[in-house]
Structures are given as C-alpha cells and as structure tokens.
C-alpha cells in the first residue's frame, strides 16, 4: 500500500492503459462528429471535479513521453491551478513542460485560447465545466440530447433575441455558443467570446473534456466554427481602449488590474507568454516607459 501511493508506482500519466483506451475511443468518436458531446466513463481524479478533471483525463490519454506540455488558466502559466496541473503531469508522466506556446505540443487551458495562432500538430485541451450549451435553457439531459439530435436550436436563438430585446445586446460575454460545421451547437467552454474566432479553421486539434459531466467533444483542424448571431446584430468580440501597459500589445485580451483604491487601473495581457515574448523582443507598453510601436 505504501509503495502504491508513491507516484512512481502509478502508471505513466496516472491513468491505467484500459482507461486511456476508453478515453481515446471517445476522443476518436468526438473527432469524427465535430461538436457532438460523446459520453465517456469519466474517472475520479486526484483533483476536485470542476478543477479540470475532464481536461486532465484528455491530456493523460493523449500524452506521450516526447510531448511538451503547457498549462494555462486565465491565459497565464503562473495561476495556481495551472501550476498545480503542470506539477501533476511533471510528477506522474515526467514530461517536459514549457510556458512557451510555440514550443508546446499539448496545451491544456482553462478559460482562454493563446494569442499566438496555433499550428498544425498542436493540441489544445479545454477544461469544460458544463459541456451542454442548452443546459441553462433546459436542465434535463434527456431533453437536450433530443434537441441536439433533432437540430432543434430555436430556443437558443430565442434566448439571444430576448437579450437584445431587453438589453440592446446579446448579454453573453463568455461561453458564447457556436455552431460547428453547420450542425451541432457547441459550448466553447467559458472562454471570453473574444476567443471564439480563434476556434474557427484552427490548424490545431481542439479537444474538450468535461469530467464531472462525463463528456468529451472535439474540433478537428480546419473546422468551421461560427458564433451564433443575427443579421442585424452581428457577432462582435470585446475591444479594449488601450493596449497592454507592459508590452504595448493591441488586439489581445487584457486583464484589468486595480492599482489603488482611487480608481487607478491598468490593463495587461491575459496571455502571459504572449506578453513576455513581446517584451523579450524589446516592445514596451506605457508603464515600462516606452511607447509601443
């Protein structure tokens, strides 16, 4: 028993090979039917449900000894949960890890897609809390599965329309629903809608794992991913008034940092690797003294 609890006696990447095979089968099915949620016999993991167990299982199932793993949460490599998951794989799989998007073969993420466009051969693994985009419109799984089967997505459009009628806007800012290859409506996981366009025709394979809800879904490379909208209210992403205060980068998603209790704010890149790479190239934002190019 004592020997068993030591990391060395666990199988490579924690899960036993039988479980990995089961997960890989679900992944293959998911790739074959883009946007379709494939049920799988999700396992308990040594981290809590809701903290990335789905993503961790997908990563564990596809990880090989030669992979280079990057883990981000909120776009950053140094957020606590990203640190914890990265350490987990260092311990149970002994793989090389990196914070550099370009060097990674597998990137596990929570809530963001890296700013640097992904390339062929990379895999982006999303941690998904609620895989069902219709869940908040219809709580019953039996109903929502039927709605997907019949391609009955009217309810979603009604919801978006009601947003516009009430607020003048579609009031969904993250987990903004998308339609995949003109067939399945899919939840992009709670990434800000800013990241939705990055999913479209991505060169990388995108895998989504929901541990507690026991679902896996996927977007193979070069898949059409369209955010739902209306002709007179086209889909729009968030825009920021200022560039990043550290690297001067624009067209990126920014975190708002509260500087003091007198309303002082600054905005910095949510993607820490993107920000650091730019600064390494000598680019500077206003806070670091130089004006961005």
């Amino acid at each position: 028993m004592t020997a068993r609890t030591q990391a060395s006696s666990y199988n490579f990447a924690y899960l036993d090979e039988q479980t990995k095979r089961m997960i890989r089968r679900a992944i293959l099915k998911a790739i074959a039917i883009p946007g379709y949620q494939v049920p799988f016999a999700s396992r308990e993991m040594p981290m809590p449900y809701g903290w990335g167990t789905g993503g961790v299982q997908v990563t564990a199932a596809i990880l090989g000894p030669d992979d280079v793993l990057k883990v981000i949460d909120q776009g950053a490599d140094d957020t606590t949960n990203a640190v914890s998951i990265r350490k987990f794989f260092e311990r149970v799989a002994d793989v090389e890890t990196t914070t550099r998007t370009v060097d990674a073969t597998i990137i596990q993420t929570r809530h963001r897609i890296p700013e640097t466009p992904l390339r062929e051969g990379q895999v982006l693994v999303y941690q998904v809390p609620i895989p069902e985009p219709l869940r908040f419109l219809e709580p019953r799984e039996t109903e929502t599965r039927k709605m997907h089967a019949l391609e009955e997505y009217g309810l979603m459009h009604v919801k978006l329309y009601e947003d516009i009628a009430r607020n003048g806007h579609i009031a969904t800012t993250y987990a903004y629903p998308v339609k995949v290859e003109g067939r399945y409506v899919m939840d992009p996981s709670p990434t800000p809608k800013f990241d939705n366009p990055k999913m479209h025709m991505s060169e990388a394979l995108q895998l989504f794992g929901a541990g507690r809800e026991k679902r896996i879904y996927a977007l193979p490379p070069h898949t059409e991913v369209v955010s739902l909208d209306f002709e007179d209210h086209p889909f729009e992403v968030q825009r920021f008034d200022k560039p990043c205060a550290l690297c001067g980068g624009g067209q990126v998603y920014l975190d708002e940092v509260v500087l003091d209790d007198r309303g002082g704010r600054m905005f910095v890149c949510s993607d820490t690797d993107h920000c650091e790479s730019r600064r390494a190239e000598g680019l500077r934002g206003e806070l670091l003294g130089e004006v961005a190019q």
């Binding site: 308990e44 993991m45 350490k87 019953r140 009031a171 993250y174 709670p190 550290l246």
Partner: protein, 365 residues
C-alpha cells in the same frame, strides 16, 4: 507599481506546508494512530468506506487523518485512490439472508423469526453528554450469544411467502457498473442503486425526509434493518465455481411501502431498498426511501416531487462531484469577469447617453 502576479508555485508549496502543520496541530499532543481512528471513530470510517466506494478500514482511517476529520475530503481521497485500482471482475450477489447478524430490527412485526436484535445502537440512549469520556473509564465487554441460532429470515421472504410483497427477480447477467458506463438517463434501477449507495448521506437524508413530508409520499414502514457480515464470493471460470474472497460488514434496509395492484396483479406492498458498507443505518434508510421514490415511473405514479426525479437526484447526490464544482468557484475567473465588466460598462454608458438625450429633449421642449 504593479507587480505581475507571480509566485503561484511558491504560494502553493507554502500553503501545503502550513496545511501539514495545522493538520498535525500541537506537537505536545500525541499524534492519532490509524488504529485509534478505525476503532473509536468507526462510524466515520464506515461512512468514508461507503461513500468512497472502497471497503478498506485502514485506508479510510488514513484518509480521515489526512483530511483532518473532513469526511467529504476523506471520501474524495479514497475515491481518487480507488479509481486507479484495476477492475478484475464482479462478485456474486451477496446473500444478506445468510448474514451473521449483529443487529436486526423490524418495525412491521412485534416479533419475527430470528427475533428483534437491538445490537450496538444509539436508538434508546439519552443524549446526555458523558463527562466520564473525557478520560478512559473502564468499559464492560458486551453480552454476546454463542452457538447456533435459528435462521434470521428476511422480511421480504416472510411477506413474500404470502405474496404480499412484490417479488424481485435478479438477473444472472453481468451487472451494470457506474464506474464503467457513462450515466445515460433514464437509468436502470441497478445503476440508480449504485449511485445512491455512494451518494451523500446528508443529501439523501433530506430527500428521504421530504418524501415523509408530502413530497412524493410513499407510506413507508421500516420492514427490516439488519447489520452484520456477509461473505463475498467471486465466480472463477478456471474452477467452475464461486470462491469466497473475504467478508464485509453491511447495513441493509428493506422499506415496505404502500401497496399497488392492477387488473392482473392482486394488491401487494412495494419496496424500497438500501444497502451500504459498514454500520450506517441513517444512510441505508434514506437510500431506501429515495429508491422507492425514484421508482415512481415504473409503478405508474405521477412524478411531482424532487425525490422522484432521477435526473435531479442522481445528478446531484455525489458529494465528490458536488463539492468539487461548488468549490471551483474559488478558482480565478477574472477573464470571464473582465468580459462581464466590459459589457456592464458599455450598457451603463448607453443608459447615461439615453438619459441625457432625454433631458436635452425635455429642456428643448
């Protein structure tokens, strides 16, 4: 000057060190041994085994110690361990009729074959704090009965003999396994019972209670509760017969519920069933009430209450899932919050613009 939020790694390491320190507490107080936990906090150990779905007293005791007495955390530790164990097969159905009974009561009969055996129960204690337990007072050994006794027949067999209770026919097929199959609703009763067996005691207790207060009333009688050890047997294809692999302590509850009949079947009582590891009567009874309530569809009853709704009950009864998702709200969500901030600000600007436009218009008029 803003310093980028670095140091997550050091912060985690330090938090773990502090946790280990707090877990140990005052070093002048002797450390708990696993034997002490397994022997003297046995009902906590039973709960961890039962909801952790792993029959191992030592590991359950270890989990309780590591979790600083937080039983849900301990259950989680045990589950995360059991999930790594290989599955080598499934046991034959255990025969609770052949149980070595330590406690057995029925509320349906004054006396019945095998008798009413109170066993080690809190039931008739007066809940007065016993200051003597601050020390280690001498405790007399319990009275036990030696030798062969009459068989302790199960209530279902007693009522079943007269055809007064519905018969349950067991299949010989490999049972469904919630560890192997993703949940797909509607679930078979076997899948529901497996989920309930590892379901949170508090959640099932509240749901069972709700059925007693009119939310899916089922007129239950505690037909029988029995606690004791049974032999677990596994069929060995190489040998051609089943061999015992060990003994487990179980609590079984047979609820006898309001009768049902139809044009074809004469009226008979229906059943709700609870079975859990260790001594855990509250959980077994709550489970039996929930099982009965969840059979509403099969028994042609209207589904009107939460306890009858299998998607509601089964999807939310697992405390490892529930605690994980509730507590994940502690993780950073600032990226999504930023998106919401942006929208609220835009909407406020538009609101102010509309208001000032209105004021200007009024002023002009």
């Amino acid at each position: 000057m803003y310093v980028s939020v670095k140091g997550g790694e050091a912060a985690i390491d330090n938090a773990h060190r502090l946790l280990a320190d707090r877990r140990r507490g005052d070093r002048s107080v002797p450390a708990l041994t696993l034997d002490q936990i397994a022997e003297q906090l046995v009902l906590g150990v039973d709960r961890v085994m039962s909801e952790g779905s792993l029959y191992d007293r030592r590991l359950a005791a270890l989990a309780i110690k590591q979790a600083r007495g937080d039983l849900i955390e301990a259950i989680f530790l045990v589950r995360a361990y059991r999930t790594t164990l290989p599955r080598f097969g499934f046991a034959e159905p255990v025969d609770t009729g052949a149980m070595l009974v330590e406690r057995r009561i029925s509320a349906c009969y004054k006396d019945l074959p095998g008798g009413q055996l109170l066993g080690p129960t809190f039931d008739y204690t007066h809940r007065l704090l016993d200051e003597a337990l601050d020390g280690d007072p001498e405790v007399e050994p319990g009275e036990t009965r030696e030798g062969a006794t009459e068989p302790v027949s199960r209530i279902a067999d007693i009522l079943g003999g007269e055809g007064l209770i519905e018969e349950e026919i067991s299949g010989n097929d490999e049972p469904d396994d919630i560890n192997q199959t993703p949940l797909e609703f509607p679930l078979s009763r076997a899948m529901r019972l497996q989920s309930l067996a590892r379901g949170d005691e508090g959640f099932l207790l509240a749901l069972g209670y709700s059925t007693q207060r009119g939310y899916a009333r089922s007129h239950p009688f505690a037909g029988e509760i029995r606690i004791g050890e049974v032999e677990v047997e596994v069929f060995m294809p190489e040998l051609g017969f089943a061999v015992p692999v060990g003994r487990v302590q179980l609590t079984e509850c047979q609820m006898v519920n309001q009768f049902k009949g139809s044009a074809k079947v004469p009226p008979q009582f229906t059943r709700g069933y609870g079975l859990v590891f260790g001594q855990s009567e509250r959980k077994a009874m709550a489970m039996a009430l929930c099982d009965r309530a969840l059979r509403a569809g099969e028994l042609g009853e209207d589904i009107v209450a939460p306890a009858q709704d299998q998607e509601f009950v089964i999807s939310h009864c697992d405390n490892v899932q529930a605690t994980g998702f509730v507590e994940h709200l502690k993780l950073p969500h600032h990226v999504d919050f930023q998106a919401e901030l942006g929208l609220v600000r835009t909407m406020r600007t538009q609101f102010e613009q509309a208001e000032s436009a209105m004021e200007n218009k009024e002023a002009a008029e």
